[in-house]
Subunit: 188 residues, 2 copies
């Protein structure tokens, strides 16, 4: 076993944490590799043994986030589109609550669209097939548009909530979002 070597696990974790904490105070671009290493108490040579550069460090961090989110999403087994969206909202908000520090770092650094891309990657196929089977939904609006609309709205509210966790509880935000998402045109 190479990857489970405690030293590797320890240094990688230290580097991730250092990056997250610094991103809460500085722009990602202002952060130098040596800054990260100083904060993480890791030698710069060691950094380069594990990551190509700081971009690779950030991208690995986001990959981990994506994996964690994906695995949480797989529990969503609702089939109708409305129920599916509601469950997705709950899972997403719970996820960013759990990983608050990381998401704050991303939000402060204006990298929200990375999240948009990530969530698109994760749910797009899933959502589109779900929407296909949903008879209730208004057929005049293309599914890809609906998906973008929904994802953009939820992420933007989610990121806003990060800064205002004291203003609204998670449950409140979830309820607001559920009320706001486009209703099926059942009358049609």
């Amino acid at each position: 076993m190479e990857k489970d070597d405690l030293r590797i696990v320890k240094t990688k974790k230290a580097l991730y944490n250092a990056l997250i904490n610094m991103m809460k105070e500085k722009t990602f671009e202002e952060i130098k590799v040596s800054d990260i290493c100083n904060k993480a108490l890791v030698n710069r040579t060691t950094f380069y043994a594990h990551f190509e550069d700081k971009y690779s460090l950030l991208s690995n961090l986001l990959d981990n986030l994506k994996k964690s989110f994906t695995s949480e999403l797989e529990k969503n087994k609702y089939s109708t589109s409305k129920e599916y969206y509601i469950e997705l909202i709950k899972i997403f908000l719970t996820h960013i609550e759990k990983e608050r520090d990381t998401y704050l770092a991303i939000a402060i650094n204006n990298r929200n669209s990375i999240l948009t891309d990530m969530i698109n990657d994760v749910i797009d196929n899933d959502v589109i097939t779900k929407l296909k089977n949903d008879e209730n939904l208004d057929a005049t609006i293309p599914k890809d548009i609906i998906s973008k609309f929904f994802i953009g709205a939820v992420i933007n509210v989610g990121m806003y909530w990060l800064y205002n966790s004291d203003k609204y509880t998670k449950e409140e935000v979830i309820n607001y979002l559920i009320e706001l998402i486009p209703n099926e045109k059942t009358s049609k």
Copy 2:
């Protein structure tokens, strides 16, 4: 007059254009000041005579965009929230259509949240006061949440449309968005 000196106008424009065109092919971080200058046929010393660094160049570019968008928005004199939103959507899509190159550069570089911030800056006060006077709107959902929801959704669809201008016309996208925005709870 200093600022109207043709040489200044010309070099600044050349630098802006060079940046926009390079951002369509490269990451902003990969673009070096000397790259911009080479493409713009401007000496590097001249660059530093006008801008602190490349971040300042980008930020000035976005300021210009913001000014142009703001002045277009000022024509929106609708008072009810629904009408206001519809007009906002039209103005926004027309705006990104006009400035397609710049927005594409921003979108490709994952800097969409800069737009979110910009639009929030521009309309937030405006929208909130409009919503205050709107009796039809469901009072149980806070106005800031509605605003974030709406802005996130519209920007995400707008950015998606940039990549798919051949798939949907502007008018189609506008109509989809109008159908998707949260309806007033007139029944309440």
